[in-house]
Symmetry: C2
Subunit: 224 residues, 2 copies
């Protein structure tokens, strides 16, 4: 069974992680959840206008406690077939967290393929994983992601893309647009990595109609 590592952190976006995970598990992956520290980490959603402050957003809207079985450092003792990095409110703090980024870079080295959803690409960029690569991200958070770190400036950001697959150096690095785009990327990933039709069969099992054209991006106009 191919091994998927989900990188979880405080304030990860729920559907960023569990949408792709549903489809990738149906496609045949097993999953291990790792976080900066093992134990409970809370997923949630990006703050709504109802929330007054950044702090309140993170506090109020991070509300699904998930148990990570491994710390990120502990996860370094294994090889992974696929590493998945969600986005979410929590990326704001982590994009400047050097120990986190250094460990993430090592985990990406230890993974045959790497994928991110939404603002998860800001973390991959800051960790140097996207140096010189093509990538995309959440459309509403475009300005923040593309300016979130010095290394983000070296990425070839693609504004009109549901997802982007880059194979520079022979290693697949796939990045998706906002939240739900991760579902479509996961269907494509499963078929690319596990065999033709595997992703589509998983989507059918989940009664999901995937978008199959990575250039068909209904939300590209949100980029500012």
């Amino acid at each position: 069974m191919p091994k998927l590592l989900l990188v979880a952190f405080e304030g990860f976006e729920l559907l960023d992680a569990f949408g792709p995970l549903e489809l990738l598990l149906l496609a045949g992956y097993s999953v291990t959840i790792a976080a900066p520290t093992n134990g409970v980490v809370r997923g949630g959603v990006v703050g709504s206008e109802a929330c007054k402050s950044e702090a309140a957003k993170l506090e109020v809207r991070s509300c699904v406690p998930v148990v990570a079985s491994h710390s990120l450092v502990e996860a370094l003792s294994q090889k992974w077939d696929l590493l998945l990095v969600p986005g979410g409110q929590g990326t704001r703090a982590l994009v400047g967290d050097e120990p986190f980024l250094a460990t993430l870079a090592l985990l990406c080295d230890a993974s045959a393929a790497v994928a991110s959803v939404c603002t998860g690409s800001a973390l991959l960029a800051a960790a140097g994983v996207l140096d010189g690569r093509k990538a995309t991200t959440n459309k509403r958070g475009w300005a923040w992601v593309t300016e979130s770190s010095k290394r983000a400036a070296t990425v070839e950001w693609t504004p009109r893309a549901r997802w982007v697959a880059d194979r520079t150096g022979g290693k697949l690095c796939a990045t998706s647009s906002g939240v739900a785009a991760g579902l479509d990327m996961a269907v494509w990933l499963a078929s690319d990595l596990l065999g033709a039709g595997v992703g589509e069969a998983a989507a059918k099992r989940a009664e999901y109609v995937p978008s199959t054209d990575p250039a068909d991006d209904p939300f590209a106009a949100l980029v500012k």
Copy 2:
């Protein structure tokens, strides 16, 4: 902030719960997670053909430990604006669990509106919540759900439906088809319960293109 109760249990389907939850949280709900016993409960995916036995399916594929802050009985001390019941492998055991079903029926009484995703409708049916109502469910599990309990025979099951909204007795009871159909139902629910356009705004925020016609069911042909 309107209050959503997520009914979690061992072997709940990941996207059944976290797809609608993403959209409903973005729409303005707060969430409380309750399970038969509070503490850790594992979500996963329905077994794949790769799994040898029913036991192995449940063991191997239930792999995301989530912390429930309340037991279902504890959740009875509050009123809820919306109760959400996911489906998944775990419904097989619970559909014959009388204490669980009795508590679920009381929780539904204490909730202004009730919704289920996928085989979650088998639990609502067995608890008597769908007596004489129209409902739908997962297409691949159709035969099992519609025959899963004596009370399921009193439900007016609708095979061609992405979701079904029934308002018998003045109370909204919405049931969706398989896994990903819960996303579309959630968009509709948010607009119906919180105000016109609220669900669509949440979907846009999540870069999700919802299906808006409940009768447009691409998976109806899977019903046997």
